[in-house]
Subunit: 573 residues, 2 copies
């Protein structure tokens, strides 16, 4: 249907615009259009005559598909009009470019970006104009916030009118969050550490451990002296200061990020420490239940309707020391999700991506893959798939784990992969090959893909196979891959409309909540003035389309999202 | 010839590798190869079956052409072998990827980067291996130098073995340098300001002006009190300190760049001030002669054989106040170049790109274009073309000057353009459209093109039309577009083999000399471990191929360069 429409429209256009083209170009174009019929039917990209820039690429087709499903009008006409003059343009010549044709070229380029082919309604256009105006104001301010470290920019972002709009916007799904940093640290400290039977221990390397126990815990290799938190807190005069001290152990936040974290090694060390510190709180079975519910609550409050959370499914423990296995944790997860969905009918649900640390040995990862296959069988609606986590630069590469990762194929089992890949600036190293290997192992999405634009072949493969990048801008800034987010490589991907979703990675560690902060950075910093309401809309739709939800739930979810979106638009335009 | 070779080799291959492809893919491939024959003959890119990644693109064809001209072996075999398995790969499946095929994919990706299709000789491979080893060492050092501000990194770079090799390497041509910052500031102060009749004046805005005069100069609006430098220097106790004070006015160097330049506005203000300060020295006719000779000397010392310098051709003056016009300056330039060539037979020559400031009015620029057309007629071998300079973000855009820029076409005259475009991080603004407009006005090269990777359509146009980007990494870092050069957008261009040359923009202001510092940043920082000796070789060859030299001089130049290259290789492998 789309291809014939295009074909027909070009034929119509031909009569009117014949004078624009010299005969050779026109003959080329016609023969290409004939070829195109076939190609376009097959739902793939096709190229125009060699050297010309006429192109209906995969991105257009995808965008068309998305839009149709989202029941929006698609601007086929725009795509066509904006491509035709390229042929004319390529004739060369030094005369002044026709302003109308220049405008069409600019629109053609705009149409390629994320959301560039979405036709906005009148109400959407109104809001879009307002957003553009707000963005222009922010770009001309003394300090452009996406160029400032998030820890300094956060209070200013919270005052931004764009940010406030993004908070209200239905953002779809959060597809890249780690379970240990799902919930605001404030809640962990002010709620969880105030519960009875909570012990604390300060380690020799300036970290902290927590443990719930009905008796005095035994000393451990890293912790000799456990104190009951209740008693300790009572002893200190200033509870607020004491609690702030605890918070500092559980987050990366500091007022002097450049001073405190001189390089990636230091910031990653603190990062991994904070994970370990939180573990004793979060893996206590009764806490986990509340923690997880609270996590969904925070996302829901930020207008997010679905979650895929990466979790190692660490063993959970009871007060008497009883330990539960992964199946128990998955059941708990399933149960809490169900309860949350009942309490919030506009929430779609959640799934888990089972993750293991890439510092493990090959045989350990092999065992983990085997276990994940079984868990995916036992909890088909809960387990989305498998991933390897931890800093890529120091851990093993995907290729090191090739034996383990081919186990599902060996066993004829199904285990979708959601690999972190290319979260690195070590260009050209073995680690940098993770992106290609993630694709070779048929990853369903790419976690971060920070290095993807430096890999033209991998980029083509992921585009052709419709593999979305999970963009987490604040994470990349805090973990020191980039300082000024205008230079984030995802700006390239966004300008090309590469499959992409926005997520928050480790909200509690970075001091964010939900996705609005990361949407702000992606929309204002990475997208620049080019990114518009269509970009936001496509990013939200993407998050549902690239989720692990089965097709019928995706469609139901999109329908629900569209209603929320319509309300958002009518409330704000 | 190349196309038939490829065709033949694929036919050969077919017999051996038949089992690798399923019938559909193989049929697709064969039909594509048939089509290819036509396309390839026309010297253009062609695409493989929709969705497959088999591709012999413009970059390959270009690379082939370059290599053939540089009389090197071309690895057609590699290009082919590395493309074939993509078809296989796209069958999908979860089994472990064949390590040999993975290796071919990696080689295919490598072949796309700048220089990726050059076949290295045994001696070159030896040096390449050494370079890789050195780069691995630098990447694992405590501080990775391209991530450090150049003002701090410079002394460390000078100790780098890679840098020392780059100094010795014949680098071809410098195509993007501004005349006012062509020569080391040290020479300006230690030589020029020590000449008789040199007056100095300190301005209210903490800058400095110089003037050579046979009498006490009159007060000017910006300068009330002129002092004879000789007298003033004699009065100060410490000449070194005094001279260092002068140097500070003529360069951006500071030990605390982040503190002194909190944002782009501040650094650009100092930048423009330094230009104005140097003007009084450089535009004195006898100084200009020596200055320009000294500039060529510095380039030649850094193994550069040709220069295209951007110059406003400011009026030059004699001691008695006599003023010379632009023709006089061009004659001087021609004369000095000739003398330098006689003194240095391995130097090819130099041309001027006439530049005017983009802060001028449209009518002023129109007059400048008209004048440039005439000067290009009068000095066809000296004037390469025309450009607009100054900070893009605050000056007028190319589109604002459209009337002026279409004057050559109106008059039927020839005036090649070499536009600065996209030296900005203001994505999506009017300024950001300069890149597209530069292409619409048929620019011969793009100065900086920092924003190009964010403009997919403009990027395609510049690639298809073989328009090289003039990459000036240190300039972009010092002028605060980027801090960590690993994130420089040119990394994307380099990975795709986009037409590119390396230059130094304003060597004296940044404290560099020649091109070796910028080559270091481009090779180690932007290229990462992927960039190899082939990258360096192609960058050097590019600088001659994308110059304004006529074809026969380019060929002669390349021949001369090749001899120097061979010596460099045999001396260092």
């Amino acid at each position: 249907m789309p291809h014939s429409l295009v074909y027909h429209m070009v034929r119509q256009k031909k009569k009117k615009k014949l004078q624009l083209f010299d005969s050779q170009h026109f003959a080329d174009m016609l023969s290409l259009l004939r070829e195109n019929k076939l190609h376009f039917q097959r739902g793939q990209s096709w190229d125009a005559s060699p050297g010309s820039a006429l192109r209906f690429s995969q991105e257009h087709v995808l965008a068309l598909r998305f839009t149709a499903r989202a029941e929006n009008m698609v601007s086929l006409c725009l795509a066509l009009l904006s491509s035709l003059p390229l042929l004319w343009f390529l004739r060369g010549g030094h005369a002044m470019p026709d302003p109308a044709r220049r405008d069409l070229l600019m629109r053609e380029e705009m149409s390629r970006q994320t959301g560039g082919l979405l036709a906005l309604t009148a109400a959407e256009q109104k809001l879009d104009a307002r957003l553009r105006q707000l963005k222009e104001q922010e770009m001309s301010a003394a300090r452009f916030l996406p160029a400032v470290h998030f820890f300094r920019a956060k209070p200013l972002i919270e005052k931004s009118s764009i940010f406030k709009l993004l908070q209200k916007m239905p953002k779809g799904a959060a597809l890249h969050i780690h379970s240990s940093s799902l919930v605001d640290v404030e809640w962990l400290v002010k709620n969880v550490t105030y519960r009875p039977h909570c012990y604390v221990c300060f380690t020799w390397d300036n970290s902290v451990r927590f443990l719930f126990s009905d008796r005095q815990p035994f000393p451990r290799w890293d912790c000799f002296y456990w104190q009951l938190l209740e008693t300790l807190r009572a002893k200190t005069g200033d509870c607020t200061e004491f609690d702030n001290g605890l918070i500092q152990h559980l987050t990366l936040f500091t007022e002097d990020p450049e001073g405190e974290y001189p390089n990636q090694d230091v910031v990653w060390e603190k990062f991994e420490k904070a994970f370990v510190a939180a573990a004793g709180l979060v893996t206590h079975a009764p806490v986990l239940r509340d923690y997880y519910y609270q996590g969904l609550e925070e996302l829901h409050k930020d207008n997010i309707m679905y979650l895929e959370v990466r979790s190692g499914l660490s063993k959970t423990y009871e007060l008497d020391g009883t330990v539960h296995d992964k199946s128990w944790t998955l059941s708990l997860f399933q149960e809490v999700t169900e309860k949350f969905r009942k309490d919030h009918p506009d929430f779609l649900g959640a799934q888990i991506i089972i993750s293991v640390h890439r510092a493990l040995s090959v045989s350990e990862v092999r065992a983990a893959v085997k276990e994940a296959i079984q868990l995916k069988r036992d909890f088909p609606d809960v387990v989305a798939g498998f991933d390897l986590v931890g800093r890529e630069n120091v851990g093993r590469s995907l290729w090191d784990f090739r034996e383990a990762l081919s186990l599902p194929a060996e066993l004829g089992a199904s285990l979708p992969y959601f690999f972190h890949a290319g979260e690195t600036d070590d260009e050209g190293t073995d680690v940098d090959q993770n992106i290609l290997d993630a694709l070779l192992f048929n990853t369903s999405r790419i976690g971060h893909g920070y290095a993807l634009p430096h890999h033209p072949l991998a980029k083509e493969l992921s585009r052709n196979r419709n593999i979305a990048v999970e963009l987490c801008p604040i994470s990349n800034q805090v973990l020191m891959l980039i300082s000024d987010l205008r230079n984030h490589p995802a700006a390239v991907l966004m300008s090309e409309g590469h499959p992409m979703v926005v997520s928050s990675d480790d909200p509690s560690l970075f001091g964010t909540s939900g996705l609005s902060y990361d949407f702000y950075e992606a929309f204002v910093g990475i997208g620049g003035l080019k990114a518009n309401l269509g970009t936001l809309k496509e990013l939200a739709v993407n998050s549902i389309r690239y989720s692990s939800l089965p097709a019928h739930l995706q469609n139901a979810g999109l329908h629900m999202w569209q209603n929320k979106w319509d309300t958002f638009i009518s409330d704000n335009s």
